[in-house]
């Protein structure tokens, strides 16, 4: 196999690895936004998933338990946002921002509590290469499954109805607030797997700031994917590709900061190009207050 082919395959492989956490986060974002709730707190959910899975894996010695705990943590964090957004009807973007700040701080606090040191945890039993591959494949399976659920199942139709017009949905007997709540929480469960992947599959520890804004790039992926699971996955692959390029270009002498900035710049450029031409679910981000 010649060197170029090997290099290309390496980049493709790296793309998959870089894209997988984005895919999970973006899928969580899609489900949430299709029901009408913008989840800015994806970053916080990734953090919760990443930290909790490491902490539990370290405490129990089982990375599987750790992963499950990470999912539960993500769901709990999402539930806070879901509650504030549905029952309290607050501004979803502001609440999501607060959630991110709180989650990052909670994880840092947790590091000191559990590991008696700031900055990073100890190394813990991880999911290893097999786990990494399983999670990568699972991401694509989840994307296909979510696409199917939204398009073809009764619950999916209800979710879509709540995202378009919760008042009309309620007049058909749907509990829009409860539907939105569960969409956000289940979305949180999916997104948290992205955090689990980062800490327990790609690595074997949690370090402060390891999520590095991926939750925000995932939001951009939701927009470019036109709020569909398959579309968001494609966008996540696109951004993952830019992240994968980072190392090769850095070796070629491009400044490291520019490389690190690439995914964010790509998101920014695409945002300018796409915005205004795609339509979000009609009630996306609009709190529904029962009259």
């Amino acid at each position: 196999m010649n060197a170029t082919l090997a290099a290309i395959l390496a980049i493709l492989g790296l793309t998959l690895v870089k894209a997988t956490p984005l895919i999970y986060a973006a899928l969580g974002g899609v489900l949430s936004e299709r029901s009408g709730v913008i989840n800015i707190g994806l970053e916080g959910i990734l953090i919760a998933g990443a930290f909790t899975s490491v902490a539990v894996s370290g405490a129990t010695g089982s990375p599987i338990l750790g992963a499950l705990a990470g999912v539960v943590a993500g769901m709990l964090i999402a539930a806070i946002l879901a509650f504030a957004a549905t029952r309290l009807g607050v501004d979803q973007i502001v609440a999501g921002t607060g959630l991110n700040i709180a989650a990052l701080a909670a994880a840092a606090f947790g590091l000191v509590l559990v590991y008696h040191q700031p900055g990073a945890s100890h190394e813990v039993p991880a999911l290893g290469n097999t786990g990494e591959q399983v999670l990568i494949v699972l991401a694509f399976v989840a994307a296909a499954a979510l696409q199917f659920v939204l398009a073809r199942t009764p619950w999916g139709l209800r979710v879509r109805a709540c995202g378009e017009d919760p008042s009309a949905a309620e007049s058909a007997g749907i509990d829009a607030l409860r539907t939105r709540f569960w969409a956000v929480v289940i979305g949180g469960a999916i997104a948290s797997l992205g955090g689990v992947f980062l800490s327990l599959a790609e690595l074997d520890l949690y370090s402060d700031g390891m999520t590095a804004g991926r939750g925000f790039i995932a939001l951009a992926a939701v927009i470019f994917g036109r709020w569909t699971p398959l579309g968001a996955t494609g966008a996540a692959l696109f951004f993952g590709f830019f992240a994968a390029l980072q190392y090769s270009l850095q070796r070629a002498g491009v400044p490291s900061e520019l490389m690190q900035a690439l995914p964010y710049l790509a998101a920014l450029v695409a945002l300018a190009g796409f915005a205004g031409r795609v339509r979000a679910p009609a009630s996306d981000g609009v709190p529904y207050i029962r009259p």
Binding site: G89, I93, V94, G98, L99, N100, A102, L104, F216, G276
Partner: protein, 340 residues
């Protein structure tokens, strides 16, 4: 009507107090510290002595600038989460230009501050432009730009615009003429505090008493009605974001000029994000924001002492700040969501 406002405000203040003391106490207990010891250390560290109070006011000032900027954007119906990046770049511009081009005193400080405001203004104008021209959501744009700002500043300060020698990650020390004079001797508190207070009064006056402020508030409170009343929404969004960034950048400049006397990439422990909480607690009113900034300044400076004296990790302060933001997210439902 004012009675109604006051009661809702009091209810919100009550919520904030419950969150701060309730969750704070819980966290302290988890860290095996009695809340009395923990909060005691915090408040003692915040204004136990004169110099500690001065330090609290330093934190207050550093929060006040970005909070005022964020509040201005909020009033225009926009969410500026990018204050952190605007603040960083404002600080960098101030630090680099101030060291690069020494000027006599009465010119140096204005130049340095102006540089910071301009840099922040440009960084705020980018998402403002994207919003005005492409209807791009300024939330995601400013989030992206925060990261890019930090990376850009890091690159410049270590690379092509290096002043401090390789690996220093900071600019050269500012000449004395470019350093803001102290307000309280032997402290880090400078006239920046006064500038911030004046700015708060000016902003309040602008919002309440000028046509510009009227139109900005209309754009934020009822964009469709504002449009039909002849208000240019795109231009308002652009100007509001640019101004918001300029104020945050000015804040970064005051940190560089007054506190650190140089720029380094660690100049902000997240002021741009904490300021979101400050703006909300202050109900987006510049004068109440001064009070809120003081409250959070207490938490910031007291938090250091709390960690040193009582062994409670400082992250508790950030945790509580985040929860306050969630608790007060109902204060303002931003109408910017009508962009993609």
């Amino acid at each position: 009507m004012s009675a109604l406002l006051r009661s809702r405000a009091f209810r919100d203040v009550a919520v904030v107090i419950v969150v701060v003391f309730g969750v704070g106490s819980l966290a302290m207990l988890l860290a095996h510290v009695s809340p009395i010891d923990g909060f005691g250390a915090l408040f003692d560290g915040a204004f136990g002595t004169r110099s500690e109070l001065a330090e609290t006011l330093v934190q207050t000032t550093s929060l006040l600038f970005p909070a005022l900027g964020i509040a201005l954007a909020f009033r225009a119906g926009l969410f500026n989460i990018g204050a952190e990046g605007q603040l960083i770049l404002g600080g960098f511009a101030a630090g680099w230009l101030g060291a690069q081009f020494p000027l006599p005193g009465y010119l140096a400080i204005p130049m340095v501050l102006l540089a910071g405001a301009l840099a922040g203004g440009v960084w705020g104008a980018i998402p403002g432009f994207l919003r005005a021209r492409f209807h791009a959501n300024e939330v995601i744009a400013t989030l992206m730009l925060n990261v890019v700002a930090f990376l850009l500043a890091t690159y410049l300060v270590n690379g092509p615009l290096q002043q401090g020698g390789a690996g220093a990650s900071e600019t050269a020390t500012l000449p004395k003429a470019a350093q803001l004079p102290d307000l309280i001797a032997d402290s880090r508190l400078t006239w920046a505090f006064v500038i911030a207070l004046v700015l708060a009064f000016v902003l309040r006056w602008v919002l309440q008493r000028t046509v510009f402020g009227y139109e900005l508030r209309a754009a934020g409170d009822a964009p469709e009605a504002a449009k039909r009343a002849g208000i240019d929404l795109a231009r308002t969004a652009f100007v509001a974001m640019a101004l918001s960034g300029a104020i945050a950048g000015l804040g970064g400049a005051t940190i560089v000029s007054g506190v650190l006397h140089r720029f380094n990439t660690g100049l902000s422990p997240g002021y741009g994000f904490i300021a979101i909480a400050v703006a909300l607690v202050g109900n987006l009113d510049p004068l109440w924001i001064v009070v809120a900034a003081f409250a959070f300044g207490v938490l910031q400076s007291g938090g250091v002492a709390m960690q040193a004296e009582a062994g409670v990790p400082r992250d508790v302060v950030s945790l509580v700040t985040g929860l306050v933001i969630i608790a007060l997210a109902g204060r303002r439902v931003v109408s910017s969501l009508r962009s993609t």
